[in-house]
């Protein structure tokens, strides 16, 4: 089994009296796309800056591809591609100029640098803006240029801090496609405070709150609960009364989103064998016609709120 690409142990970062990161530990395996979810100010950017060698941890250690962030910072930085939040770029440069500059300081030269720039530009669809000054680029293109420079030297770890902030929906979709295309061959760590964005691209989600890691795998954390989508010919009251008798059912709610058909419900229940069969049997017993019963993926928003609630209760 290959060793993890990222190993962080008891990371602590203090800015004066403020503790931004409190004893965070996690590992990331090669090829994983991991999301780091947390509200603004929860310590995501501090962790990312430590991982990329920009900040040194107050306590603890972190290594990327076997290189320690403090003692072998330069070697670590060769293995990491970083897209900081808001894509800070040199506005006085043209796109091609910036990509060439970044390729060269990442150790590429001559034909290798040219190939890397061409390849990154093609992957990010930058061909038509290569000669434009960066100051004149739209927000979406700035973000693409920032991602392109991070990919130039094919880093072992790609770190993206709030990569879709300010992008329009079509740009967000294009970004998701890009991340999906990287999955498996590149290790990606993405920070965001937008739950659906993380849920759609990450294979594992870590949740951070006030500098503390609440879970290193929120999707698995949701494994003790199941969510099912039902299409039933009956009222919400009838369905609630019917499912109250089914062991493990916790909540029933009507789907009232735009475009949702009438008779659609979400059932939340404890994970157990034969749950779907028992629900179907209970509905049949009450003569409520069931036209659809579909298991849903774990609801990241629910897990996030649940974890933060539990932490609040523990703190109280």
């Amino acid at each position: 089994m290959n060793p993890p690409i990222v190993v962080a142990q008891n990371l602590v970062k203090r800015y004066g009296p403020r503790l931004a990161v409190r004893g965070v530990s996690f590992t990331i395996d090669a090829g994983e796309v991991v999301g780091l979810l947390g509200p603004n100010g929860s310590g995501k950017s501090s962790i990312f800056r430590i991982l990329t060698g920009y900040l040194t941890p107050t306590l603890g250690s972190v290594s990327v591809a076997g290189h320690d962030a403090v003692t072998r910072s330069l070697a670590l930085r060769r293995e990491v591609g970083y897209v900081p939040e808001d894509a800070p770029l040199y506005d006085h440069m043209r796109v091609a100029e910036l990509l060439r500059f970044m390729a060269r300081i990442k150790g590429l030269s001559g034909a290798a640098a040219r190939r890397a720039v061409e390849s990154a530009a093609a992957r990010l669809g930058l061909a038509r803006v290569m000669t434009m000054p960066i100051a004149k680029l739209s927000r979406g293109f700035r973000q693409r240029v920032a991602i392109a420079q991070a990919l130039l030297n094919e880093p072992k770890l790609l770190v993206l801090d709030e990569p879709t902030s300010g992008l329009d929906p079509s740009q967000v979709n294009a970004f998701r496609d890009l991340i999906r295309s990287l999955a498996g061959r590149q290790t990606v760590l993405i920070a965001s405070h937008v739950l659906p964005e993380i849920a759609q691209v990450a294979s594992r989600v870590m949740i951070l709150l006030d500098g503390t890691l609440l879970t290193t795998d929120a999707l698995r954390h949701g494994g003790d609960r199941r969510r099912l989508r039902l299409e039933v010919d009956g009222s919400e009251a009838e369905l609630r009364a019917c499912l109250a008798a089914v062991a493990g059912v916790r909540a029933v709610s009507a789907r009232a989103g735009a475009g949702d058909p009438p008779g659609g419900y979400i059932v939340e229940a404890d994970e157990r064998p034969f749950l779907a069969r028992d629900i179907a049997a209970a509905l049949a017993e009450r003569r409520l016609a069931l036209s659809e019963l579909t298991p849903l993926p774990p609801d990241l928003e629910h897990i996030f709120l649940e974890l933060t609630r539990r932490r609040g209760e523990a703190a109280a």
């Binding site: 800056r49 990329t52 060698g53 920009y54 900040l55 040194t56 330069l74 070697a75 930085r77 060769r78 990491v80 970083y82 900081p84 808001d86 800070p88 770029l89 040199y90 506005d91 006085h92 440069m93 500059f101 970044m102 060269r104 300081i105 990442k106 150790g107 030269s109 420079q149």
Partner: protein, 233 residues
């Protein structure tokens, strides 16, 4: 070394992508051209000594403008994150920024070489003070750029960086005037920090190793402190 060359190229392009470099060079040459002509017509002697003292003052006033943006701007725009997460050392970044700004001062001095050439064409100047004066200006320029770079590294506001280095330069310019008022041995220590005190011998054609060592030490110390300041994150 290759990374340094790439960083230096980037710094030179950044320097000349803003109007600051052009304005500084133009103003420097206009003032010095006017002074050179005036001095020559008044004194009728083929000497650049008065000009060297004017260049000294102009360096004190213009170096903060050249150096203020070096790191402060990168901090403000957060492009420093791009640089410091790339596989380049803080020392390489500091040296590249220093070399670009110092290079601009050297360019200004090279352009001012027109004055000794004119003197040589129409008179018989004493070349000793001219060589030593230019050497003094080069060494002074290095120390000033180092100080300005350090100021820019310490703050993220360009104006504050410029004011910080300008205040320091002005203090070190006049420090010997009130240094003599201090008790022994503080007076010797303070007077020896004087920028003008160490420049006068160069401008008048006297070379002392202590004066050169003062400027070289100041340059190396400020570069070291700038790299340390950049590494403190």
């Amino acid at each position: 070394m290759r990374s340094f060359a790439v960083l230096l190229h980037k710094e030179v392009m950044a320097l000349f992508s803003s109007p600051i470099a052009y304005v500084v060079v133009t103003v420097f040459l206009l003032i010095m051209g006017y002074s050179f002509t005036l001095t020559l017509f008044i004194s009728h002697t083929p000497s650049l000594v008065p000009l060297f003292f004017q260049m000294f003052v102009l360096f004190l006033l213009t170096v903060p403008i050249i150096t203020m943006r070096l790191v402060a701007e990168e901090r403000k725009l957060r492009t420093i994150e791009m640089l410091l997460t790339a596989p380049v050392s803080e020392a390489q970044i500091v040296l590249a920024k220093f070399a670009a700004s110092f290079g601009l001062l050297v360019l200004m001095l090279l352009l001012s070489a027109a004055y000794p050439i004119v003197l040589a064409l129409y008179g018989d100047p004493d070349w000793g003070p001219i060589y030593s004066g230019y050497l003094g200006l080069v060494l002074l320029g290095g120390a000033l750029v180092g100080c300005g770079l350090l100021a820019s590294t310490l703050v993220s506001n360009q104006i504050i960086a410029a004011l910080l280095s300008l205040s320091l330069f002005l203090l070190l310019w006049i420090i010997d005037d009130f240094g003599y008022l201090l008790p022994d041995p503080l007076d010797t220590l303070v007077v020896n920090l004087s920028l003008s005190g160490h420049f006068k011998p160069f401008a008048t054609g006297s070379l002392y190793l202590s004066d050169a060592a003062f400027y070289v030490s100041a340059t190396l110390l400020t570069l070291f402190l700038s790299a340390r300041a950049l590494a403190q994150r």
